[in-house]
Amino acid sequence: MNWKEERFAYWERETDIAWIPTAPAKFVKSEKTTWGIVDHDEDTGEVTALEIWDASKVFPAEMLERLPEPGRPGSAKAA
C-alpha cells in the first residue's frame, strides 16, 4: 500500500505541525481555528482530523517524538 493511502497521526518536525486523524474521511470541509485546522465530514459534521500548529508548544515533546514524520510512517520511535 502506498504510504499516502494510510491515514496516521504524525508530527512534521520541519513545520511543527501535528496531524491527528480521528475518523475516516472522504469528503471534508475544514474549519480554521486559532490553533490549527479541524476537518469535518461534509455530510455528518463529524470531526475527521485535527491539524495542530505549533505542536511543540501544545504537546509534550516526549509524546511528539514518538509520532512519525508524515512521509515516513516507519520512523516513529519505538516505545
Binding site: 499516502k4 491515514r7 504524525y10 512534521e12 520541519e14 513545520t15 511543527d16 505541525i17 496531524w19 474521511a25 471534508v28 470541509k29 475544514s30 474549519e31 480554521k32 486559532t34 490553533w35 490549527g36 485546522i37 476537518d39 491539524e51 500548529w53 505549533d54 514524520e69 508524515p70 512521509g71
Partner: protein
C-alpha cells in the same frame, strides 16, 4: 475599449486597461480568468450562477493562452452562455508578465494583473516584492493534504503566484495565506513561507485546506 463593470463583489486588479485581467477577487477569493477574443462571456473557476461574466476581446496578435474549446459551460443567471477555458502556457505567460515588461500600447500600456499601486506612470512596474516566485517546495504535510483532498498542485502553485501580492499575513503557522478556487469550484486556502532562506523566488507550502463554502454574495 473599457472593461464592463463587473457584478457586485467582483473587481479586477487592473480595471483601467483593455488588456484582460487574469484574476479578480470575489469575497477575497482569488478567481482566475482570461477571456479571449472569440469569447464574449468567459469565466474561469467560478461556479454556475455566480454571474461572474464579462465581455472583452483579446488584443490582436496576442497568442492564445486558453484552450481552444471550453472545458466547462453553463448558463448564467441572466440566461447567457458562459464558458470556462482551461489556461495553458501559464508559466510562460506569467513569467513574462511578472518580469514586468511593459505591455505594448495597443494592449493598454500597463502591466496586466498588477494593482495600480505597483505600476509606474509609463506602465513600468514598481513591484515591491521584486522577484518572481519560481520554486515551490512542498512539505510532506502539504503534499499529503493536497493528495488526500485531491488538490491539483499546479492550481495551488498558480494561486500562490497570482495571489502573492495580495497575500494575507497568516496568524498561525507559516508566513502567508492566500485563497483560491479550484477549477472544480472548491475553495481552498493555502499557507506558505516566503522567502525561504532569503530566497525570494522560493516558497515553502506548509498546509492547504478546503474552506467552507460561504457563497459568492
Amino acid at each position: 475599449m473599457a472593461l464592463p463593470d463587473f457584478c457586485a463583489g467582483v473587481r479586477s486588479c487592473h480595471p483601467s486597461t483593455p488588456i484582460l485581467f487574469e484574476r479578480c477577487l470575489i469575497n477575497r477569493r482569488l478567481v482566475i480568468g482570461l477571456p479571449t477574443t472569440t469569447v464574449r462571456q468567459t469565466s474561469f473557476g467560478s461556479r454556475p450562477g455566480a454571474r461572474m461574466t464579462w465581455s472583452a476581446r483579446r488584443p490582436s496578435g496576442a497568442s492564445s493562452i486558453t484552450t481552444p474549446t471550453p472545458t466547462r459551460s453553463w448558463e448564467s443567471s441572466s440566461g447567457k452562455q458562459v464558458n470556462a477555458y482551461r489556461q495553458t502556457c501559464w508559466r510562460r505567460f506569467l513569467v513574462r508578465r511578472n518580469r514586468l515588461a511593459p505591455l505594448p500600447a495597443e494592449r493598454g500600456g500597463g502591466i496586466c494583473g498588477l494593482p495600480s499601486e505597483v505600476r509606474g506612470v509609463r506602465g513600468e512596474a514598481l513591484a515591491p516584492w521584486g522577484a518572481v516566485i519560481e520554486r515551490f517546495y512542498w512539505t510532506d504535510h502539504a503534499g499529503r493534504r493536497a493528495w488526500e483532498r485531491k488538490f491539483d498542485r499546479f492550481e495551488v502553485e498558480m494561486t500562490i503566484r497570482l495571489g502573492h501580492d495580495g497575500r494575507i499575513r497568516n496568524d498561525g503557522r507559516a508566513d502567508w495565506r492566500v485563497s483560491g478556487e479550484c477549477f472544480d469550484g472548491r475553495v481552498f486556502e493555502v499557507v506558505y513561507d516566503h522567502p525561504v532562506e532569503d530566497d525570494a523566488e522560493r516558497v515553502r507550502i506548509v498546509s492547504i485546506w478546503e474552506m467552507e463554502d460561504r457563497g459568492l454574495s
